[in-house]
Each structure stands twice: as structure tokens, then as C-alpha cells.
């Protein structure tokens, strides 16, 4: 059951992330991103960490998406072409793409041997005690960073 759900969530996430690539309107690109973020939250829960899944939903699908909508409202919908113009010499670009596809092929066909998936993942209690135990300074730094990042949005007086 878990495997099937993982296939569904992963398939949807990849499909909508590729779909986002071709969207001309910023709104539809943002909606595609929202679907990807929600599927990633489901994948986190299926991988054995419901706490991370909920945090992903709260932080990304909640807070960041609100800011994305504010930024989209601030700008007119793009009318010009959506693709950047490439300066990379063509042979080099083709070489890079081939290298990438080879790496992907190796990942998909198990070049590295992955450990068998465990049935019981560490529970939220263990994660919580680590977050506020040995990782406490990092946790406080991350929360302070999020607070300061929010200040970046505040308009300076005089609009400078």
C-alpha cells in the first residue's frame, strides 16, 4: 500500500514540476509548485516522518505560497517569451545533457546499492528531543533566520 501511494505522490510531484516548466502564466506556475510541495509533504510522511510532512505543509504550502501570491500580484503577467536565450556553445550543452542523463540512468538502475527500507522509522519524540537537545543551537539559529528573513519584506522608511 505504502509503495503504491509513494508511486502516486512521486509521479504527481514530478508531473507537476515538469508542467510548471512550461507554464507561461506565473499563477499557474505557482499552483503547480503548490501541488509539488503538497506531494513532497506526503512523501515525507510515507518515508516515516509525519512531523516533517506537516512542517513542509505548514511552512511551504502555507507561508511561502502566500508570499508568492503577493509577489505575483505586484507584477503584470509576463507577455514576453518565457525561455531564456542560451549562450552556451551547442556541443557543450549536448555533452552536459548527455552526462546528466547517464547519471539519471545509473540512479534509476541502481548503480549504488541502497539499504533495505526499515519498517519503523525514528518517531517524532526522538526527533523532538534531538531538536531541543543536542541540536538546540541550530534550531534557535534556524528560527531566528526565519524571523530575520521576514523582516526583509518590510518596506524601509522613505522607500530607499
Amino acid at each position: 500500500m505504502g509503495e503504491g501511494l509513494m508511486w502516486a505522490a512521486g509521479g504527481l510531484a514530478v508531473f507537476f514540476s515538469v508542467l510548471m516548466l512550461f507554464q507561461k502564466s506565473l499563477y499557474s506556475a505557482a499552483m503547480c509548485l503548490l501541488v509539488v510541495m503538497l506531494q513532497v509533504a506526503i512523501i515525507f510522511s510515507l518515508s516515516g516522518s509525519p512531523l516533517l510532512g506537516l512542517m513542509q505543509m505548514v511552512i511551504y504550502a502555507g507561508a511561502v505560497m502566500v508570499l508568492v501570491v503577493v509577489v505575483i500580484m505586484a507584477f503584470p503577467n509576463p507577455t514576453a517569451s518565457r525561455w531564456g536565450n542560451f549562450f552556451l556553445p551547442r556541443p557543450l550543452a549536448i555533452l552536459l545533457l548527455a552526462g546528466f542523463l547517464a547519471e539519471l540512468f545509473m540512479i534509476f538502475h541502481g548503480a549504488a546499492n541502497f539499504p533495505a527500507s526499515s519498517s519503523t522509522a525514528p518517531n517524532n519524540l526522538a526527533v523532538g528531543s534531538i531538536l531541543f537537545g543536542s541540536y538546540a543551537p541550530a534550531t534557535e539559529a534556524a528560527t531566528l533566520l526565519m524571523f530575520l528573513a521576514g523582516l526583509a519584506l518590510v518596506e524601509k522608511k522613505g522607500g530607499a
Binding site: 509513494m6 516548466l21 512523501i43 516515516g48 512542517m55 509576463p78 514576453a80 533495505a116 526499515s118 534531538i130
Partner: protein, 98 residues
């Protein structure tokens, strides 16, 4: 299941990278970055769960918060472009003003 997580992570990372390389709108490039970070987090969570390592999950949670802070700063930089009436487009931002 773990192997599947790696496949999803690789596919998501590549599609996020394509968004950053191919698209012109800064916002969609920022979306691509977010997808790449999420792809890396999927691999980290899958590994941490399979090794039953809560340190890995705690680290993933902190990375999630730092990535959200990065998204907010990126969005505010794009929002600040509006003041000098510049479109958030890589073509419009060609020179660094001192």
C-alpha cells in the same frame, strides 16, 4: 520504498534544475530552486528513516526552515524590483549597479 524515494528525488531535482536553467522569469527560477531543495530533502528523509536515525530527520527539519527563509528573502528581492519599475526577468537585469 527507499529506492523509489531516490528515483523521485532524482527526477524532481532534474526538473527543478531545468526550470532554473531554461526559464527567464525570476519567480519561476525561484520555484525551480525550491523544488531542487525539496528533492534533496526527500533523499535525506528516506535515508534517515531507513537507518532509523533521528539526527538526520532533525537536520532535515532545520534545512526545511532555512530553505523557507531563503525563499522569503528571494521573494522580497523580487518584490523590491518593482520599485525601479523593472520586470523580474533575467533579460532586464543585465548590469550590476554600484
Amino acid at each position: 520504498m527507499n529506492y523509489l524515494a531516490w528515483q523521485i528525488s532524482a527526477a524532481l531535482f532534474v526538473s527543478g534544475l531545468c526550470a532554473v536553467i531554461l526559464r527567464k522569469q525570476l519567480l519561476v527560477m525561484l520555484f525551480g530552486l525550491e523544488i531542487m531543495i525539496s528533492a534533496a530533502l526527500i533523499a535525506l528523509v528516506a535515508q534517515a528513516s531507513s537507518f532509523q536515525d533521528s539526527n538526520g530527520l532533525a537536520a532535515a527539519l532545520i534545512i526545511l526552515c532555512v530553505a523557507a527563509a531563503e525563499a522569503v528573502v528571494g521573494l522580497s528581492l523580487i518584490l523590491h524590483l518593482r520599485k525601479n519599475k523593472t520586470l523580474p526577468d533575467t533579460d532586464a537585469l543585465m548590469n550590476l549597479k554600484g
